[in-house]
């Protein structure tokens, strides 16, 4: 007992330091000697006869935003990988990249959603399947018989000839070769979805670039399988560029099929002030119904990805020393420069604050979202590791030149290859690796974002946690028993009480050590002003905050020339219990945890080393990877 080493989460504010070390209690010993899978913490093993799980024991890693060559834009950039290759890659198999380079993840992912851009549907599969409405036409009936006999190509060429001679049967006047890419897509997802082992979500991206490149994109994620997904054609932006129409489509779909959908927006940083605008798409004031719909359909926001990080911006969070991170803040997706006032409606933290404020007037918080990371890769290769980064699209797959290739180029704005961010992944706390369990976790926001590393992060909030609850052996069981996990709500503050949070972070087995865990609090003060404050709650080593309250930097071991670092600074794990020292029970607030890694080489450093090149001096070579949990909201009764 005496030589049990402690890791000391140093606490800010009112907290007593809890020490895991000397305090392995009898209960804890009992837990570890009479192990049951249900009591083990985050990396619990699978039991031979699993009992129903009381709460999520394992975090499932995935990417809900992958494009393949089937997205026409990706194909135009030379991506040759289709959905099957993308799924195989996500499952950990080696595939050939579009440039013929072997590509493989360091570790498999647990789940993925292939979200090619939604696509106009067609009818060739209906011909094949003998849709009775079409069979009345003798020509179509002949083609049906040929298709069933395996003569698809002959049918195709006959259709092309008929088209060019204007002899296409009227029911097929749909474009050249009508076919349902969608049904093909869902069939592939069905084949690769293996409940308990690997989840392949059915999904698509609805890609609204309203107003000339204002990114209002949403990924639509299906909880259900092909039988329901095939009943309705995905919505495209030919149908509407208005997100409110997407929500309507989602509602209609659920009513028709009885299934469940959600939508995940991304890249508010490229929306020129429209992602979290305080008015409707057509410029009308927000209404309770609007807020209800947004909160219902968009429970999660993709906060970090290749096209930049979206947590916050230095001009919005001037006191946040980690805010200046992987910024894409010059323009929208079409290179239209940003103007004053736009940044305020583009970033997650500010939107979470605005949500609290809107709830006061609308009765509903429209921006009550959890956070995930994903890649938005257009290569079919979901890579978020700095040392294994295949880029945004196939024109910027690894090469000696990609760092200086333009990504957005207009007379006013240049975004260059080196600005791509090798980010991110989504960690999902679910009881099982199935579509249903993972989707439900997204819906209840028990998810978090990382910029690539697979850190295991826990975050709970409640009123009754004690120091012992924050010990590693107890943290998870106590976290669920006495409070709510990330994404949850607390209310009804006991008289004189302040909310207490327990949080832990375990490094990625292959990644950098951890610098610190912070809790980010946002609220609206009594005068209606938006407020935020960042608390360091656990950190490595014996650093002491300075007179200004700031913790000294953790240091830096990165050898840029060799693209290496050492884990001689930081800690492999951190944990803390923290009570809000500035709590006012009358004011609604949100809290989320941010985990910061020690500095490690950025992908640009690996490229520079790998290709023996020297990039320009302004290209960053070092990155501080991080994780953002979904918030926990406090709402006064």
């Amino acid at each position: 007992m005496a030589n049990k080493q402690q890791f000391c989460p140093l606490l800010f504010g009112v907290m007593a330091c809890f020490l895991a070390a000397c305090s392995k209690t009898p209960e804890a010993e009992k837990t570890s000697s009479n192990d049951t899978a249900a009591q083990a913490p985050s990396l619990a093993a699978e039991s031979a006869t699993p009992a129903p799980k009381a709460y999520p024991e394992r975090v499932f890693w995935g990417d809900q935003h992958v494009h393949t060559g089937w997205s026409v834009d990706a194909g135009a950039f030379g991506a040759t990988l289709g959905p099957e290759e993308a799924l195989r890659f996500a499952r950990g198999e080696e595939v050939q990249s579009s440039h013929g380079v072997p590509a493989k993840l360091s570790r498999p992912l647990d789940w993925v959603a292939i979200t090619d851009h939604s696509d106009a549907a067609g009818t060739i599969f209906e011909i094949r399947d003998g849709n009775p409405a079409l069979m009345a036409d003798p020509q179509i009936k002949t083609w049906h018989e040929m298709l069933v006999a395996g003569k698809g190509l002959e049918v195709a060429s006959e259709m092309i000839v008929a088209q060019s001679n204007n002899r296409i049967p009227a029911p097929l006047k749909d474009p050249v070769l009508a076919m349902s890419i969608w049904q093909k897509n869902t069939a592939i997802m069905e084949k690769y979805n293996e409940p308990g082992k690997f989840t392949a979500f059915i999904g698509y991206e609805w890609t609204s670039n309203a107003g000339g490149g204002n990114n209002l994109h949403r990924n639509v994620i299906y909880r259900d399988g092909k039988d329901l997904a095939d009943q309705v054609v995905p919505m495209t932006t030919f149908d509407s560029e208005n997100p409110e129409d997407l929500w309507k489509w989602l509602a209609d779909w659920e009513a028709k099929t009885g299934g469940s959908l959600l939508a995940i927006p991304h890249n508010g940083n490229l929306s020129n002030g429209t992602m979290f605008a305080l008015q409707t798409f057509s410029g009308e004031p927000l209404t309770p119904a609007w807020a209800e719909a947004r909160a219902r359909w968009e429970p999660v926001y993709e906060v970090t990805q290749i096209k930049g990080d979206g947590e916050t911006h230095p001009s919005l969070s001037p006191n946040d020393e980690f805010a200046n991170f992987e910024r894409w803040d010059a323009a929208n997706l079409a290179g239209v420069p940003k103007q004053a006032g736009m940044l305020e409606q583009e970033y997650a933290r500010r939107a979470l604050q605005d949500g609290l404020k809107l709830e006061k007037t609308l009765g509903v918080n429209p921006f009550k979202f959890g956070m995930v990371g994903s890649t938005d890769t257009h290569t079919g290769l979901t890579t978020a590791d700095e040392d294994n980064f295949f880029g945004k699209h196939s024109a910027v797959e690894p090469s000696a030149e990609r760092w200086e290739h333009p990504v957005i180029q207009t007379p006013q704005v240049n975004v260059t290859g080196w600005q791509m961010s090798a980010s991110g992944y989504a960690g999902v706390w679910a009881v099982d690796n199935t579509r249903e369990a993972l989707w439900d976790a997204l819906k209840r926001k028990e998810v978090y974002a990382t910029t690539g590393p697979r850190m295991t992060v826990r975050f709970f909030g409640g009123w009754e946690y004690s120091d012992a609850d924050a010990e590693p052996q107890n943290l998870v069981a106590a976290g669920y028993a006495k409070g709510v996990p990330m994404g949850g709500d607390i209310s009804a503050a006991p008289a004189g009480a302040a909310p207490v949070f327990v949080t832990s972070a375990l490094k990625d087995a292959l990644g950098g050590n951890l610098d610190r865990i912070q809790i980010v609090k946002g609220w609206v003060d009594a005068a209606g002003n938006l407020q935020e404050k960042i608390y360091d709650v656990a950190w490595s080593g014996d650093r002491k905050p300075g007179a200004d309250g700031n913790l000294p930097a953790v240091g830096n071991t990165v050898d840029v020339a060799n693209a290496t670092w050492t884990n001689s600074i930081g800690e492999s794990q951190l944990a803390a219990i923290w009570k809000d020292p500035d709590f006012d029970p009358a004011l609604p607030a949100f809290y989320y945890a941010r985990v910061i890694e020690i500095p490690t080489p950025r992908w640009t450093a690996y490229d520079q080393k790998r290709f023996g090149i020297k990039m320009a001096d302004n290209v960053p070579m070092i990155i501080t990877e991080r994780a953002y949990t979904s918030p926990i909201w406090y709402t006064p009764k």
């Binding site: 890791f7 000697s33 009513a255």
Partner: protein, 294 residues
């Protein structure tokens, strides 16, 4: 560049087409575009059906009228654009056509289901892909090198001796968020959580006694393997879905390649460019195909 990434590129295409069309009107005589557009019952039915397929209800009369107006507008612009040749040499349109052809080729070649014998042969030929991994039950105690510094080896060895003398492992080593015990964990999962080196080391440890050091990204471990089960080759019945999927995938790729090779035979390919003088990007596939095909 990323402007092209904005999807629904046909929108841009149409806008571009409109611009060029207007320009063309200024500088060229009228072309031989078919200038008759007939909106038949079938056309209207098709528009209505397409609307309903997305919106899950038929269009209202006003909506239908708007659909028809849009159809006419797009048909005119499309015809004029095609007459200008704007559909040619466009990588987006080219990709779309290729994609359709790919899907058709695959659909044509995947209609017959594999026999058990075919699947079994495929399973045997790719046995390692389907092998069930060994599973391990183990206890572990962690030492963080940063916390122990120069004393790491001494602390570690003392703990190893204690453990093998029967000391409760819960009282030894550093407090950790890692589970103290894992039950029947597949080896590939061990590798995912702790790294490949750790998993490989565990596979070779003897059962029963505390062993170490075993290194992982978290630090230095002392490990006791409680039990292990060997991996095994599965029967077709156990992995049929995966084998069928992979067999179909292999056939899909073969079919696509065979179709291409069949077409290629009828083409004369002549690469006249001086490839040695061309500035080719690294990893370019072009660099590997500098031959004349007949």
């Amino acid at each position: 560049m990323l402007r092209k990434l904005i999807t629904e590129p046909l929108v841009h295409f149409l806008l571009l087409g409109l611009g060029l069309f207007l320009l063309y009107q200024l500088v060229a005589p009228a072309s031989a575009v078919d200038r008759k557009i007939v909106v038949s019952d079938a056309t209207v039915a098709m528009l209505a059906q397409r609307y309903e397929s997305v919106w899950m209800r038929p269009p209202t009369p006003d909506e239908l009228r708007a659909l028809i107006d849009t159809h006419i507008r797009e048909e005119i612009l499309y015809r004029e654009g095609v007459a200008l040749g704007l559909d040619r040499n466009d990588p987006v349109i080219q990709r779309r056509v290729l994609q359709k052809l790919d899907v058709l080729t695959e659909e044509s070649s995947s209609l017959s289901a594999p026999t058990d014998a075919e699947l079994d042969a495929y399973l045997q030929a790719n046995a390692e892909r389907y092998a069930l991994p060994p599973t391990l039950s183990f206890e572990q105690v962690l030492f963080d090198p940063i916390r122990h510094g120069a004393k790491l080896e001494a602390d570690f060895n003392a703990a190893l001796t204690q453990l093998n003398a029967g000391t409760d492992p819960a009282t030894v080593g550093d407090s950790t968020l890692l589970p103290a015990r894992a039950v029947s964990m597949p080896l590939d999962q061990v590798a995912r959580d702790y790294g490949d080196d750790f998993a490989a080391a565990l596979e070779n440890l003897p059962v029963g006694s505390w062993q170490g050091p075993v290194r992982s990204g978290f630090g230095v471990h002392i490990v006791r393997i409680e039990s292990k089960s060997a991996g095994e080759a599965p029967t077709l019945a156990a992995v049929r879905a995966a084998v069928e999927r992979d067999w179909e995938n292999a056939r899909r790729i073969e079919g696509r390649e065979a179709y291409y090779q069949g077409l290629l035979k009828d083409y004369e390919i002549r690469i006249e460019a001086d490839l040695s003088a061309a500035a080719l990007p690294q990893n370019s596939a072009v660099a590997n195909t500098s031959q004349v095909r007949q």
